[in-house]
């Protein structure tokens, strides 16, 4: 019973926070609600026995990406944003499209059948610790994708510097 109450709180809070993120007029408020949202997501990861990912979520998303967003929001002068329309003129079409997609997903979800269980049981993870278990997988089976991810980050760094330079 207790896990369901816990999950219920997080489901309601996360839905409300997401709606707040997309409807606030001032982008700074949106970024701050996003911060609360990321803390809730980290808590859900903890609830699902993914401690390492919860830490990564807080450090990388709440610590790095949101600070980047906040930098840009404060760097651009957004006084004019506070008046004028915040939604595009076609917003009812967007909401209708989203709701129909949601109905479609929830309709299809009934036919979800769970596959066979893998070998990373709770006992295996607790005996090995979570970070070590995930690292073993990352550095053996997923070594090549890991290297490609580093290349993606390198290209992102170079691209960001080139784009943000004075003369484009």
């Amino acid at each position: 019973m207790l896990p369901k109450i816990f999950f219920g709180y997080f489901a309601v809070a996360m839905t409300v926070l997401s709606v707040l993120i997309i409807t606030r007029r001032n982008p700074v408020h949106s970024v701050l609600w996003m911060l609360a949202m990321f803390f809730h997501i980290a808590a859900v990861y903890l609830f699902l026995n993914a401690e390492f990912l919860a830490a990564v979520q807080l450090i990388l998303y709440a610590g790095a990406i949101l600070v980047l967003f906040l930098f840009v929001v404060m760097m651009l002068n957004l006084k004019e944003e506070l008046e004028g329309d915040r939604f595009a003129g076609e917003w009812p079409i967007g909401v209708a499209l989203g709701l129909s997609l949601l109905v479609l997903i929830l309709f299809v979800m009934g036919s979800l059948t769970q596959g066979p269980a893998g070998q990373h049981t709770i006992e295996y993870i607790t005996s090995m610790t979570h970070a070590k278990a995930i690292g073993t997988l990352l550095y053996t089976e997923y070594l090549f994708p890991f290297e490609v991810a580093s290349l993606v980050l390198l290209i992102a760094i170079v691209g960001a510097i080139v784009l943000a330079k004075r003369r484009v």
Partner: protein, 100 residues
């Protein structure tokens, strides 16, 4: 024990809110944040599947998604800064150069 379907439904709801936010807002910063919201909702469903199927590969995938999301945020915000410097516009309906 919370059923797996609840996590998938939560993830779907957050994803749809991200899609709607991307479609209806005029501000490009909020649109980029909606993309982050969508990526995070997919991460929630992957971690839930990983827990219920007792397979850590889902969490490795989340790791890669976070990497790509970081790269995407950096590039997107750099494009935004360059756009604002050249056009002083951050609303989608003010940027009409490619309309022909």
């Amino acid at each position: 024990m919370v059923p797996l379907e609840w996590y998938i439904a939560l993830s779907a709801v957050i994803f749809i809110i991200g899609v709607v936010g991307f479609l209806i807002r005029r501000n490009i910063i909020i649109m980029l944040m909606s993309i982050e919201l969508m990526l995070n909702s997919v991460n929630i469903s992957l971690v839930a599947f990983s827990h219920y199927l007792q397979d850590l590969r889902g969490q490795v995938l989340v790791f890669f998604i976070i990497t790509v999301a970081a790269a995407e945020a950096a590039i997107g915000l750099a494009i935004l800064v360059a756009l604002f410097r050249n056009k002083a516009a951050i609303h989608t309906d003010e940027i009409t150069e490619m309309k022909g």
